[in-house]
């Protein structure tokens, strides 16, 4: 009942109810540009996305890729220059942010500094003229949800970064939004706090089974941990969209392969293809590889065609340089990262490629030493040749 009320509060100018079966969020060929003529900059180009109720979708990409612009267009903070934005089937493209009923959590928290925690959380309820007797219980409920019940009378400046972010989340949830937007919510926190908040966001997601979440991040770990699906963006365009597992295991494009998990992309030539397997030639060796359906707009894997072999750094093995089935490689750098040691190798038979390899533990390698590099079986996944970040 309460959810229905808030939906009406959010889109209270709507006359028709939510269209059955329509997605919670729909971007329909949305474009955002700034400036005119030769000074025109495209911040978002032809962006299409459907997000179902209860689904969490992460917009993942480097800075300037358009992910925050997409979020801002949905929230109503920027006006699309083309396309339409729909919430629960209703066109909200021309509605101001106040009439969209979307909860927004930003990297900077954006708490109102002169208001106490309780007043911050109650702000949206008061703005939507919620009856006074409903405000206090709702504020207490959401603050309890984020573990901030004991801080009601505090001012934002008296809280740590993590606590401020919790209050920002509670403030967004107080209005019971059908859609929750999170724009790099953990980016301003230190590493330990980020991990803790990530776990809390996972719990929050489970506690809000009907809320569609759009989560903007440039951190692939956050996207993998939270998202049901990941949208990979680059240069103001949507590059790929799929489940986190699919994008990780079978990245459709070289950009996604490199951006999501930092895969090695080894140039290869496709040989015989049988079903979803292929024999490919990498340098002087022929190996087995997985050949998924090519990405949209790319040709099928034809014998003799050029492709990239996507191999994750942890899948590669360092062996003796004398091993016959190994590539001979020189260690360019060895960096200890705690759980693994990251090696950067130059492979003699692949002159234009630097290969990253993760070796478990703290393993000392001398820079300039020659090692053997063995591909796994199957060696990796075929990826269409294309742009890399």
């Amino acid at each position: 009942m309460a959810d229905t009320r808030v939906s009406q509060a959010g889109l209270r100018q709507r006359s028709a109810p939510a269209e059955p079966g329509s997605p919670a969020i729909l971007f329909d060929r949305v474009g955002v540009s700034y400036g005119r003529g030769r000074k025109q900059t495209h911040a978002l180009i032809d962006f299409n996305l459907r997000v179902a109720a209860g689904e969490t979708v992460a917009l993942l990409g480097p800075s300037g890729s358009g992910k925050s612009t997409a979020l801002n267009a949905l929230a109503g903070f920027v006006r699309p220059t083309s396309g339409r934005v729909r919430l629960a089937g209703h066109d909200v493209t021309d509605l101001p942010p106040a009439r969209r009923g979307i909860g927004v959590v930003l990297q900077s928290y954006a708490l109102f500094p002169h208001m106490t925690v309780a007043d911050n959380v109650a702000f949206g309820l008061r703005a939507q003229r919620t009856p006074r007797h409903e405000i206090a219980p709702r504020v207490a409920e959401v603050l309890d949800m984020v573990g901030m019940s004991g801080y009601m009378k505090r001012l934002p400046r008296e809280l740590s970064g993590g606590q401020q972010q919790r209050v920002a989340i509670a403030r967004a949830l107080a209005i019971r939004p059908a859609v929750l937007l999170l724009d790099e919510p953990l980016a301003a926190l230190d590493a330990a706090l980020r991990q803790s908040m990530l776990a809390e966001l996972q719990l929050l997601k489970e506690a809000l089974p009907d809320t569609a979440m759009l989560y903007v991040t440039h951190d692939q770990a956050e996207a993998l941990a939270l998202a049901d699906r990941i949208v990979v963006m680059n240069d103001a365009r949507l590059m790929d969209v799929d489940t986190a597992e699919n994008l990780w295991k079978r990245p459709p494009t070289s950009f996604t392969a490199a951006f999501l998990g930092g895969a090695n992309l080894l140039p290869c030539t496709v040989g015989r293809v049988i079903g979803s397997s292929a024999l490919v030639t990498v340098g002087p060796r022929t190996v087995n590889a997985e050949a998924p359906a090519p990405a949209l707009g790319h040709d099928d894997w034809g014998p003799g065609s050029a492709a990239l072999l996507c191999v994750r750094p942890h899948a590669l093995q360092i062996v003796s340089a004398r091993e016959k089935d190994a590539f001979s490689a020189t260690v360019n750098a060895a960096v200890w990262r705690g759980a693994v040691t990251r090696l950067v190798l130059s492979v003699q038979s692949l002159p234009d490629v630097l290969v990253d390899v993760d070796v478990p533990g703290h393993t000392p390698f001398e820079v300039g030493s020659v090692v053997g590099l063995r591909l796994p079986e199957p060696a990796g996944v075929l990826v269409s040749t294309g742009s890399t970040p």
């Binding site: 509060a9 959010g10 929230a75 109503g76 903070f77 101001p96 942010p97 106040a98 009439r99 969209r100 009923g101 979307i102 909860g103 927004v104 930003l106 900077s108 954006a110 708490l111 109102f112 500094p113 002169h114 702000f123 949206g124 703005a127 939507q128 920002a168 403030r171 967004a172 209005i175």
Partner: protein, 284 residues
């Protein structure tokens, strides 16, 4: 351990650092301030205490009228500056329009001009033979000027509002620039109308700047002499004008000194208030 302690005991104490004489450098500027600022004030106060000047002046109707008019004009002008300045600052900061930067710079320019110039400009605009009255006469055919407020308290207040409004706009713009855009966006997304955002998010941040700007304007309008003098309004006698009349025109120096002392006390009280508000603002 004992050895170490013993050695510590026998170690000679460090010699005391030489006494600094740097504080002596404060004496020349202090003497200068005492001579240039404090002495004239004390001299005025001393002059005011001769005879029964205080009783004569404070009991006179002219003084009471001037005091009331000074405070009334200053308070009205300040209120006008606050209203107009807040409106202008909000428009300049949150309603982007082509040329807003130019308008901002023009406001800065007004701060650099002498106050009497505004009155002079008003004379050319709204005076009996000014451009506005000429235009009205051309349209209506009337021979007498329809707009005749320049030589009244309303004329002084209008001129003071025009001249002193930038003193309110500038600190407000500085505060508005510090309010993160994200706060306004989030407030709007939570369902707040622009008016609610202004009232609940923006203005609470701006109150100290508004109070500081208002205090400064009140202080300046209380002491304003150029605008009143240039208006030439016969009925508008303020404390500064009364000091001028008593001291320079009628040579009643003790009487002028009494009024000046009252003026100084008023100004210092207001300046104290301004400093308190400004300190609070800058401490945030």
């Amino acid at each position: 351990m004992t050895t170490v302690l013993d050695r510590d005991v026998t170690t000679p104490a460090d010699p005391a650092p030489p006494r600094s004489t740097a504080w002596l450098w404060v004496l020349p500027p202090l003497a200068l301030v005492l001579l240039v600022v404090l002495y004239p004030l004390l001299r005025v106060f001393w002059e005011s205490s001769t005879g029964n000047s205080w009783g004569d002046v404070l009991g006179s109707q002219v003084f009471r009228d001037a005091l009331w008019r000074t405070v009334a004009i200053a308070a009205t002008s300040t209120a006008g500056c606050l209203v107009l300045g807040t409106f202008l600052a909000i428009v300049l900061a949150f309603v982007p329009f082509p040329g807003s930067a130019l308008v901002g710079r023009l406001i800065d320019t007004v701060l650099a001009l002498p106050s009497f110039l505004i009155t002079l400009a008003f004379t050319f605009l709204y005076g009996s033979a000014g451009a506005v009255n000429a235009a009205i006469s051309a349209i209506t055919g009337s021979s007498s000027p329809l707009l005749d407020f320049l030589y009244t308290p309303a004329g002084v207040i209008t001129a003071e509002i025009t001249f002193f409004t930038p003193f309110v706009v500038r600190p407000l713009l500085a505060v508005f620039a510090l309010i993160p855009r994200a706060q306004l966006d989030v407030a709007a997304s939570l369902g707040a109308s622009p008016l609610t955002v202004l009232r609940s998010v923006i203005m609470p941040e701006a109150w100290p700047a508004l109070a500081a700007g208002g205090s400064l304007v009140l202080l300046l309008t209380l002491n304003e002499f150029g605008i009143v003098l240039f208006t030439g309004a016969k009925g508008v006698i303020t404390l500064p004008v009364l000091i001028y009349t008593r001291g320079i025109v009628t040579f009643d120096l003790p009487g002028a000194a009494v009024i000046a002392t009252v003026q100084v006390v008023l100004s210092l009280l207001l300046y104290g208030l301004y400093r308190v508000i400004f300190a609070r603002l800058t401490a945030r």
